[in-house]
């Protein structure tokens, strides 16, 4: 579904764009040469085949003899068998090239994505990135490996046929070649127009999919508003547009194809009329005439194919631009060379040099502005968080509660000022060092496809089974496991969708416990979870917080009340800070927030407790 409108790339040919492909093709030079050679050989035999018929007519039929048929048949059969072998060699080469080339491009994209900063992920829809890694690379690889060589085949075939015809009879050959510009012109005229309408068809199609989606997800609303008929009328307009565009595209093809065939018939007619005269005059053999007829009929398909493939092939320029656009994206946060030197990079960490971490965090005169924002959300902010402190961050939805966490975790860096971890500016340590010491549990917990065991192990890859089970028990995640029929080996489904939100949360807690981080971040869930699970989660959280520096983006009263420090955020700024009672007593914004947001929670609790 095209959720994000793609920008249209310029269509004019740009050599610089194509050059980006060379590094990916270089390892497959041998395969490329293989394909080149066998494609030419294929074209050569294709040109040869009509000549067998010519020989048969001239030698046997006109000569009225069957002497030498066996030898002729042998040669013919040999050509056919050779052709089959060439096809094997070429298609295997192309398939290999397509897959290897595509694999390498995908890998390059994926590796690069692991280095990009959150600022990129925050503004770029997942679908948009995903389509670059998967569809664009697939399309580039397929078109380079097949389409390009099909064009090469068609081109060499057409040239070869011209040469063969010129060798057989110059006069007739020239008559046939005269028709070629007509085909070229027709193709050029129609292809662009057909392409234009096909693009409209595709757009209409994605709109129809969108309408189905909306019709289904909005069914309840449509029913309560009684606007089904109106929705249907809107939908019929979309399908009507789709039909009109499709018929338009089909009409163009319906004119184009018979026209090309007609031009081809002109060539046949000309060959027959002029060739027949030459045969009667004894200037041309009947077999040659038949070869001409075959060539004249057979040359038009490759010419059309050439034009079609050319248009397709040029169009991958846009795909290449999209992929290289992704690869050119620079990470906003990167480690300095001397840091990499000492501590290693993301892919080659030098863990032996890593200092241990206590979790003492200091914001020193920090100012910050989001790269895509236009005002400072933090100015000259200073705060010392001793190791082991629990910090709760409260505020309304969208008030910017994540900012401090993003900075502390170095998902973003301050625009001015410094952030010290254990007294050292974190820019003097590697990102991986810090991240390896952070436990992060999201509001909407994210699990990966795989088993429960694998998901918990994500926290520490070398953990033993016993350690994993211990971690699960520590946060009551084992209650979830017990309900699953295959225990720890039960698959959680794509994105964990076989589990409920509460269950996913418990598993993600276990994952965090296993990592045993010094710094812990929890983005608390707002969604209503059944009371029983809720209690488990509360217990798990208090277990998790023990002895760690933690940031809680908090929604629950009980969590907030127990925090060592509460930061109150409003419109992206920290407006109040202190402990729960202090803040309440101050009767400021926290007090308002409290009475508004938490009173309802308390009421619900009272109802639920009945």
């Amino acid at each position: 579904m095209a959720a994000y409108d793609e920008k249209e790339y310029a269509q004019s040919f740009d050599w610089r764009v194509w050059k980006a492909l060379f590094p990916y093709l270089r390892p497959y030079r041998k395969t490329l040469i293989q394909i080149f050679v066998f494609i030419f050989l294929c074209a050569f035999i294709d040109i040869l085949l009509p000549l067998f018929q010519r020989y048969a007519i001239d030698r046997f039929i006109e000569g009225n003899t069957t002497a030498g048929v066996a030898g002729f048949g042998g040669a013919y059969a040999a050509a056919i068998i050779l052709q089959a072998l060439f096809v094997v060699a070429f298609t295997r080469g192309s398939m290999r090239l397509e897959m290897m080339f595509g694999r390498d491009m995908k890998k390059a994209c994926f590796v690069h994505l692991q280095t990009l900063s959150f600022s990129y992920y925050n503004v770029t829809p997942v679908g948009y990135i995903h389509s670059r890694v998967m569809s664009d690379t697939n399309r580039i690889a397929a078109l380079v490996a097949w389409n390009f060589f099909d064009m090469l085949w068609a081109f060499s075939y057409v040239i070869g046929v011209f040469i063969a015809m010129l060798m057989l009879n110059v006069q007739l050959a020239l008559l046939v070649i005269l028709v070629v510009p007509a085909i070229a012109l027709l193709t050029w005229y129609f292809q662009n127009r057909i392409l234009h309408w096909n693009r409209k068809v595709r757009k209409a199609n994605s709109k129809i999919t969108g309408a189905f989606n909306e019709g289904i997800t909005g069914a309840k609303t449509s029913k309560t508003l009684v606007i089904e008929d109106q929705n249907f009328a809107g939908f019929q307009k979309l399908t009507g547009d789709m039909r009109a565009s499709s018929v338009k595209a089909a009409r163009l093809s319906a004119v184009y194809i018979p026209l090309v065939l007609f031009v081809s018939s002109i060539a046949t007619a000309v060959v027959l009329a002029r060739g027949g005269f030459l045969v009667r005059e004894g200037l041309l053999l009947l077999g040659t005439l038949s070869a001409f007829a075959s060539y004249a009929a057979g040359i038009f398909e490759p010419i059309q194919q050439l034009a079609r493939n050319m248009a397709d092939f040029i169009s991958i320029q846009a795909n290449i631009e999209r992929v290289t656009g992704l690869l050119d994206e620079k990470p906003l946060i990167s480690d300095a060379p001397e840091v990499v030197e000492q501590y290693g990079d993301t892919f080659h960490p030098k863990k032996e040099n890593w200092p241990p971490i206590k979790g003492d965090i200091t914001f020193e005169d920090v100012s910050f502005q989001y790269p895509d924002g236009n005002e400072e959300v933090l100015s000259h902010f200073s705060l010392h968080i001793p190791a082991g402190t629990t910090v709760a961050i409260v505020g309304e939805t969208g008030a910017g509660k994540s900012t401090l966490v993003n900075l502390a975790c170095r998902f973003f860096e301050p625009t001015a000022g410094r952030i010290l971890i254990d007294g050292v500016d974190y820019r003097r340590r590697s990102q991986l060092w810090l991240h390896s010491n952070i436990g992060y549990v999201l509001q909407a917990p994210h699990l990966f496809s795989g088993t429960v065991m694998e998901n918990i192990r994500y926290g520490r890859l070398d953990a033993t089974e016993a350690e994993i089970k211990a971690a699960a028990e520590a946060v009551s995640a084992d209650t979830v496991v017990k309900k699953l029929d295959r225990g720890y080996d039960s698959p959680v489904g794509e994105g964990g969708d076989r589990l409920s939100t509460g269950e996913k949360q418990l598993i993600s807690f276990a994952r965090a416990v296993l990592a045993d981080p010094r710094i812990f971040v929890l983005d608390e869930a707002t969604s209503s979870i059944d009371t029983e699970t809720e209690q488990l989660i509360q217990n798990a959280i208090s277990h998790l917080l023990e002895g760690r520096t933690s940031f809680l983006i908090a929604h629950r009263l009980s969590t907030i009340r127990h925090a060592d420090l509460i930061l109150v955020v409003r419109d992206g700024r920290i407006v109040e800070q202190g402990k729960h009672e202090e803040l309440l007593r101050r009767k400021g914004y926290y007090h308002t927030l409290y009475s508004k947001q938490f009173a309802e929670e308390a009421a619900l609790r009272a109802l639920q407790a009945q």
Partner: protein, 610 residues
Amino acid sequence: MDPTQTGGGKAALIWRFLRPSLWLFTGALTLSMLNTVFNAATPQIIRTTVDSVIGPEPFALPEPLVSLLRLDSLELTRGLILAAAAILAAAVLSGVCNYLSRIWTAKCSENFVKGLRDGLYDHIQKLPFSWHTAHQTGEIIQRCTSDVDVIRNFVTNQLLEVFRTAFMVVFYLVVMFSMNVKISLVALGFLPIIMGYSFFFYTKIAKRFLAADEAEGELSTTVQENLTGVRVVRAFGREQYEIDRFDVKNQRFTDLWIKLGKLMSAYWASGDLITGLQIMTVLLVGVYETVGGGVTAGEFLAFMSYNAAMVWPVRALGRILSEMSKAGVSIDRVKYILDAKEEPGPAEPVEPPMDRDIVFDHVSFGYEEQGSTVKDISFTIPAGSTFAILGGTGSGKSTLMHLLDRLYDLPEGGGRITIGGVDIRSIPREYLRRNIGMVLQEPFLFSRTIEENIKATRPMASLEEVRAAAATACVDAAMAELSLGYDTMVGERGVTLSGGQKQRVAIARMLMQGAPIMVFDDSLSAVDAETDAQIRAALREHEEGSTVVLISHRVTTLMQADRILVLEDGRVAEEGTHAQLMERGGIYRRIYDIQMNSEDRVLLEEGGDD
């Protein structure tokens, strides 16, 4: 299921949507057959030219044609010009047939698919709400898009192609047999092999395709999960681990396709080999027959043309036949949706005035598999009053409103709901829903402009009316401030509104309905208490005389209602005015105390006990 409504088998479904374009379908088929006939003329013209214009044979043409064209006294030049003209004439005729058959095929295809899509959309909208909750959106959409495309392809490509090819083969063979039995038998002998080989191969390969497709799906999921889980990946420093996982999937995908490629390559090559050998064998047998005097040189040429023209479509036919089995599955999947029963209308519809008392009379109801959610509930909402409902999660408050709007129908023996004494089951749904304005808990806005959203129920309303409704819902100022104002698109392609804004837009949309009964199902939860009060004040002013049902957790909202109902676990716990309930000292009183005295330190300490 009722067989009269489900309407029989797969063929019936095709018939239902193909019938309106039946003449296009048969027309397209007839003309494509005619096209084949005209195409068959060219080899005959060449044959006659070679044998009787250039060669000495007498014309093997019907007597009237011979005398009309004065062929018995034919000099060479006129003969050749006639031949060329005949070829062009056949080309024009076949071109016209080709053009018309393409156009009609396209129109038929588009009509068919439009009918099918419209039918699905309309039907899905009319399906009961319970059907919607029981099915996954993605699954339904896939049936409405991919499966529909498979069916369309089956009807207007595959089916036509099979008919066309079958006709072509039969027609060409008849012509060939009439010229020479021996060569024709040889040609015919190969055809089942060619077709059977393709069919066999594509049936075999389907499984491998599936495996390769699944590998691609897995790879795609891995990328997707890495992108959506980027925060988890970074927070645990698992970049290298992710790359390793990706590599495994990427390699598997690559290997499977290369393996499949080898199979395809073998197929293409051996296919070329078999067809090449067939053409060669026909040529050799033809040579013997011609030399032996069984056929003339011209006939030999005609044979070669017919045979060559037949081989490719037959090869394709094998593939089409093997793929046609897919269509059966798709038809079943689409049929499943179309066979589901629409919400039935009442036997004797009545449209009573709706500004009357609403009575819930011993209402009991449970969703499938969940036991009863609402147990024997009775209460009356007096006409023109404001009626409030308070209850915890799962207490059944939303269920009551679903029942009132007939999103679900009360089963026999589940009590009844009446408006002005009329059982709502005898009121047509459209009439009922049009007269009940309902704002849902999680409002759904359509991806249209804000103006279009608000005037969904009254598309002809002026912008002034829209703004007036928005003003009542306290959202006019916020909307007018957007860069495009009321023309701003909502949803994926446009702005993301906050939860509170969405709720207020939904309220404005409901107000446009001008319904005498209004239901607010916890629809101000995301709006702060002040705005909540403002909206209710504005409502009272504008909508005097309407019956209002409020579902809320907010005591400030509830206390102004004329009557308050407290639900607990599907039963009525308390009912009365604010004063009565306060007096009573039950749940309502307790919640009132918690919410209205939240600054009370003592209560705060109590809240920490959970």
